[in-house]
């Protein structure tokens, strides 16, 4: 049976050329608007110092935003790179250094302490620019103490606490802040446990992925290969890090 041309549809046949052009332009505008909104909402923009008001809430919000941004960035990077911010054995893929979690038969998934340590260090690093900016770009007299980041991998969320003495003076007004905390909805302990099981199973079954095991886990799995290796994307759809479900990439040396 010959396939029908879409323009043979009576709806289109009853329209004039000008009307059709309007529809096309309208469609393009809607598409561009949608894309703009999408990108604007999906990127957590760094806070700007210049617009800050000299009040405690604004300053605190600024720091928390810095902390949140750094935390999200760190968590995402950690997930994309298989639990490592700076993996020693990794494969570069799409700008990420994805760590081998199963390498030569060994499970390389980092432990909780190591994850915390990596996150703490990396968040602390990522905060530096933001904090420096607060000190240098603000018109206020500032005194910022040593930063200390504390990460807690809780059940259902990751808690990040920044201990950083901040003293700001604007004339005779003074704001003193010390501790900042954010929480990211990502159940890393559960995810790590599941991933550890998966790695162990894959290792035991010569690269075979247990469908029953995976189907029983509360994640979405996407398995693909690239550069001669197997990747498992584990996505916790119930999580929310930076507005997106948390994704963890497992690289298997199969």
């Amino acid at each position: 049976m010959p396939r029908k041309n879409i323009w043979d549809n009576p709806f289109f046949m009853n329209l004039k050329k000008g009307q059709i052009t309007i529809f096309i332009v309208l469609g393009m505008v809607l598409t561009i608007s949608f894309l703009l909104l999408y990108f604007l909402s999906s990127t957590e923009s760094a806070p700007t110092v210049k617009n800050l008001n000299f009040d405690s809430a604004s300053i605190e919000s600024y720091v928390i935003e810095c902390l949140s941004s750094a935390s999200s960035e760190s968590l995402i990077l950690l997930g994309k790179q298989g639990g490592y911010i700076h993996p020693s054995i990794y494969l570069e893929l799409e700008g990420y250094n994805v760590a081998y979690l199963l390498f030569e038969g060994n499970n390389k998934l980092p432990g909780e302490a190591e994850v915390i340590s990596q996150l703490s260090v990396y968040i602390k690093e990522r905060l530096s620019a933001c904090v420096t900016s607060l000190a240098e770009e603000s018109k206020w007299e500032s005194e910022i103490g040593e930063k200390q980041v504390n990460v807690v991998l809780g059940s259902g969320s990751v808690g990040i606490t920044l201990t950083m003495p901040v003293r700001l003076k604007n004339g005779d007004q003074e704001i003193i802040l010390d501790t900042f905390a954010v929480r990211k909805e990502a159940d890393l302990p559960s995810m790590f446990n599941s991933i550890s099981e998966i790695i162990s199973s894959v290792s035991t079954h010569d690269g075979g992925i247990d469908m029953m095991m995976l189907s029983g886990m509360p994640y979405e799995f996407e398995i693909f290969t690239a550069k001669g290796e197997t990747f498992i994307s584990v996505t916790d759809i119930s999580s929310n890090v930076d507005g997106k479900p948390y994704q963890f990439i497992v690289l298997l040396d199969t």
């Binding site: 994309k80 893929l93 799409e94 990420y96 079954h205 010569d206 690269g207 075979g208 992925i209 247990d210 469908m211 029953m212 095991m213 995976l214 189907s215 886990m217 994640y219 979405e220 799995f221 996407e222 398995i223 693909f224 290969t225 690239a226 001669g228 290796e229 197997t230 990747f231 994307s233 997106k244 994704q247 990439i249 199969t254």
Partner: protein
Amino acid sequence: MYTFNKRGRSWILLVIILVLISIMSSIFVNAGVLGDVLTRVGPDGCTDGAYETGDEDCPYESSPAEECKDIFTASTASESSGVIPTTKSDSCDGNYYVSEAYIDCYSMDSTETVNIRCPGGFSCLYSMCVHNSGTTIGPQRGISYTSSGKINYADYITVNKVKLWNVKNLVLSLRSRNLIEQADWLTVKNTTYFDVRDFEVNPINYEIHATSLNFRGYELENVKGLRIKNGTDIDFAFGFTYKGVNFGDVFDFRINEDGTFDIGSCTINDNQYRGVENLIIEDNTVIFDHVASLKFGENETMVAKDVSGGAVDENSSFFFESSGEIETTGSLIVNATDVGFYDDYLYAGHAGNLVVGNSIAGNVYFLKTRGNFFNADSAEIVYTDGLTFESVKNSTFITDEEGKLVYTEVVSNANNNIFNLINPLSGSDEYVEFLLDKDQSFVMNFSRDMFQFLVSSNSSMLLSDGGILNTGFTSFGENSTVLVHEGYPPLYEISNGALQFSNERFSETFVSEGTGFVDVTSANGFGCLNLSSLGAYVFSDKLDERNDFVLHVPSNVESYRICTRKTIEQKEIDVECDLCGIIDFISKDIDLRGTIEYLRYPRKNNEIKALVMKEFYMGLNNPLARLVYENDFNVIDTIFLNLSLTDTPSVVFPNNYFAIQEAKEGGILHTFVKVDSTITEDTINDVLIKHYENNILGRIFIDEGGLYYNNINFFTPSEANMEIMRR
């Protein structure tokens, strides 16, 4: 002047008449007119007017003047020298004396008589001495005998009208008339016979019969009807025995200078010879240089012609250096050399042609035949029962009375060896055509209920149903066999080879590393197959070879049975076994139980990528799998695995990227999916299946993009997959 009166004239006339009679008698005697009956006596002094009737000659009388005292003839002695002739005749004086009349010529001739006693064994009968058997000696000369009647010597005697010359030590038989019981030697018609026993001569045709005699140095026995012809050729009308060998009906017998015999025709030990040259007898064996024809037995069960260098023993076993033709009941050997017959088998070192029943062989070496059987070390060609075999070696053929092949073992090694076999299996009208390639050889064994082909090197053969070549066999080297058992359909037993069925729609190949069985019909091809370890069933669709598939038996399985259903009329087959499968070409599904491998051609962009099939499904240990195809055998819609059994691992390869494996884990069956990370977008093959399903996991969806199950998505290699990282 004297004058005679009437009485005086009468006396003168009488004297004249008597003188004339005397003169006339002398003239007649001298002329031999009365030779048979009148014996002119002389030169013993008797006058010419003395003679004896009956006596033939008496030159060696004891006294020449007393002639003739021949006691073995009845004679009358007459003399006419005197005025008054006198005559006296022999007579018997009692039983043993003969009153022998003779002519006394000492002075005046006179006739006298004397009584002579007959020799022992003789009696006086009919005025002469007659042997007690009734045999008469007849006219004789120079006879000497003993008192017992044995004739020591005689120049000749006439026995029952047959004159025997040079008789020595002759004893007449008492058993019958005319029989010479023995004689050292005697001569009959210029032929001398020595050491004769029971010697008889036919007085009319001079045929000789004797229990034994020595003839020209040859001791013959049971001589019957010997007759000399033309001085050289001899007939033995009823034969003789020589060196223990019985000759019968011997005609044109001639003894050559070298002591051999030429015989026009004869029978020896019931075998009829014609045109025999240079025959001798040694150790009861007839040896000859040449025989024009030789018929064996009274029923002429075998006839040989133009035979050279032959030897035939008393059992009619023989050896011929060559024979132009040998015909037995149902067989014919032409231009044969080194021909032998023993133990009821006929042998030949070589034959130009051999005909056995309806079978014909050409240029045959070292053949052996009997009845409808023949065997040959080699033959250039053999035709039998519609078959043609070329370059045959070490082969045996047996046909029935109608020429149907009932058993054969054939080794053939020829270039382009083609032959047709009218399938003799009962109930089948197929015929088989074999095509062998260059330098290939095979052994064909055939019997009433099966035929077998043993192929000794890599080769292929085709079996046809008359028009379309539809069944072929390919050997895998040594000990490769095809064995067809009688039945309908015929059951083929294959060892170390491959049997292929082909029609216009599809072909099937049955590969057997060990020994496997398959029933084949020309209409539908393979029915049920018993595959041995490492055996395989190969299906090839001639319309679309993407549909081709293979079922292969792994090495750890001893045998696997597969049945096919190809017609609607054929009822569906139940699977009731641990190691078996059903290929239903009607409903387009395959049930596989147990350890078996299912292979397909790898495809790329819907085209066959490589001509080596790859595993699609591997039943590793007793799973029950059902492959359900789409409209044809191209794409599998679903493979369903029943995993209710305790231990049912299996592997499915939807393409070269995915592998789905069932395995037991902690007492629970798990489904594992494995991907080959070395496969790229360029090297990945098409998936051949849409759904994978088992009774525990449920259904997995598969397409070219990936494999999907609930929260699990496997993606085939693609640049688009990088979006996952970019999220």
